[in-house]
């Protein structure tokens, strides 16, 4: 795991400028700029409702932006749209099927993302990181919520994707597993990966911080009524 050969494109850059987003008639943030490149860690901080999850889903391409641009480039070519194949999103929901064992869940995820069947060894290594090896063949329905959360984190080492978008990844993790996650993130960065994490707690990883509170729209702006009332 300490092997730091860069396996991802070291020329990858992802940036957003002047981003604004609305949800359900409410302006979530505006004038937001960020930039990350291969090997970067960016943590999103800010109070509840400041749009951390919204920004992650915007970057992943789930949400339309109201204005601004997101640009994505790798060595040699640039594009202003995002390739979903490069993202991995770990959110509040864990995407696990309760009737399946962890091995079945993880294998399906691997097949879904890569089209091939994972080697047993690969599953074993990924499960080991979050101390899930003894649970691999247990049905997920008997897991505690902490175990489910770790099962979701297990995808990170399982499938190689350059950009990790993480929403509160440390919630419900004990000290050992937090350390394991921090080590995993550091390894990913050393391999040229990019991590953007929305978090309330320090993650134990050095990187840039984007304070979402500074992009809060000022309320009571009257031109809001006529132009962008939806």
């Amino acid at each position: 795991m300490t092997d730091a050969n860069p396996i991802f494109d070291s020329g990858t850059r992802l940036s957003g400028s002047g981003l604004a987003c609305r949800r359900g008639g409410r302006r979530v943030f505006e004038g937001l700029n960020f930039e990350v490149q291969a090997g970067d860690f960016l943590s999103l901080t800010g109070k509840n409702g400041s749009g951390k999850s919204t920004l992650l889903r915007l970057i992943a391409g789930f949400l339309p932006k109201k204005s601004g641009t997101i640009s994505y480039s790798c060595s040699g070519n640039a594009s202003d749209f995002l390739v979903s194949d490069d993202f991995m999103l770990v959110g509040h929901q864990n995407g696990l099927k309760p009737g399946f064992t962890l091995r079945e869940n993880a294998s399906f995820y691997y097949r879904l993302m890569t089209g091939s069947t994972p080697a047993a060894k690969r599953l074993q290594i990924a499960a080991d990181i979050f101390a899930l090896d003894s649970l691999l063949d247990e049905p997920v329905q008997y897991f505690s919520s902490g175990q489910r959360h770790r099962s979701a984190l297990m995808r990170l080492p399982l499938v190689a994707r350059q950009i990790w978008l993480m929403d509160e990844p440390t919630v419900g993790l004990d000290a050992d597993n937090r350390a394991a996650l921090a080590a995993l993130i550091q390894h990913h960065m050393a391999c040229g990966g990019i991590v953007i994490a929305a978090t309330h707690d320090p993650m134990g990883v050095a990187g840039n911080v984007l304070d979402m509170d500074q992009f809060q729209p000022n309320t009571g702006n009257s031109d809001d009524m006529d132009e962008g009332w939806l």
């Binding site: 979530v28 009524m225 009332w229 939806l230």
Partner: protein
């Protein structure tokens, strides 16, 4: 297109059109009802009950026309992400559903003296009934979600699916009813429509049309104001 993106612009236009539409509604309904009830002769075959037609047929036309309005609004809303178009569909739907219901009810009342029964599964009645169900679905979907924009987008997709399906449904139902019905059923299309009947028919159709414009503008203004209110209250969804 984007000149009307602005609700203030819309309000100005609506206020300009409104008085004329109201006057036209009163005049056309007056003339239409006079010709429909008094000024036209009874049918030689159907007698006085032919007068139901002047209420019934334009209502069925309006039911179809308003569905097309909703479909066009839905298309605009989905393609150009135009919020006003989203609300236009929402505002038009209950009016269209009401016209469709009116067509069904008057059709049944007309059917009793004509066919001896309130309902026959004839092609026309059946496809109007299916269209009424499509209206109900559209309105129910709008009501089903708290997030207005999501609800409107879903309803718009449904409206477009419906508009693709209406010709297929119409074809299948017509085909089905000719398989199952003896050909003796009274039908409207035929050489029986006389010039004296066309005058009240078109007057009533025009009256319905301007009536639709009046109610539609009212409902649009209501929706726009509701929307503004909810934005002012800041009742946005938490992310």
């Amino acid at each position: 297109m984007h000149r009307f993106a602005n609700p203030a612009q819309f309000n100005r236009l609506a206020d300009a059109v409104m008085p004329w539409a109201m006057i036209a509604t009163v005049l056309l309904f007056g003339a239409g009802l006079y010709y429909a009830l008094i000024g036209s002769p009874p049918d030689y075959q159907q007698g006085e009950s032919v007068r139901v037609m002047y209420v019934h047929v334009p209502a069925a036309w309006m039911g179809m026309f308003i569905y097309v309005v909703i479909a066009v609004a839905s298309f605009v809303a989905l393609v150009w992400r135009h919020p006003l178009a989203l609300l236009a569909g929402k505002a038009a739907a209950p009016i269209g559903a009401t016209f469709t219901a009116l067509a069904l009810i008057t059709g049944m009342l007309w059917g009793k003296p004509m066919w001896g029964t309130y309902w026959v599964w004839d092609g026309r009645l059946t496809s109007v009934l299916v269209q009424f169900f499509l209206y109900l679905g559209y309105m129910a979907l709008w009501k089903a979600m708290d997030d207005e924009e999501k609800a409107g987008n879903a309803a718009s997709i449904l409206a477009l699916v419906g508009v693709v399906n209406i010709p297929i449904i119409k074809f299948s139902v017509d085909w089905w009813s000719t398989l199952h019905q003896p050909a003796s059923v009274m039908r409207l299309d035929g050489p029986t429509i006389d010039g004296t009947m066309l005058v009240p028919l078109f007057l009533m159709a025009a009256a319905y049309q301007v009536y639709f414009i009046v109610v539609f503008i009212w409902r649009m203004k209501l929706e726009v104001n509701n929307r503004k209110l909810s934005v002012m209250r800041g009742s946005g969804m938490e992310n």
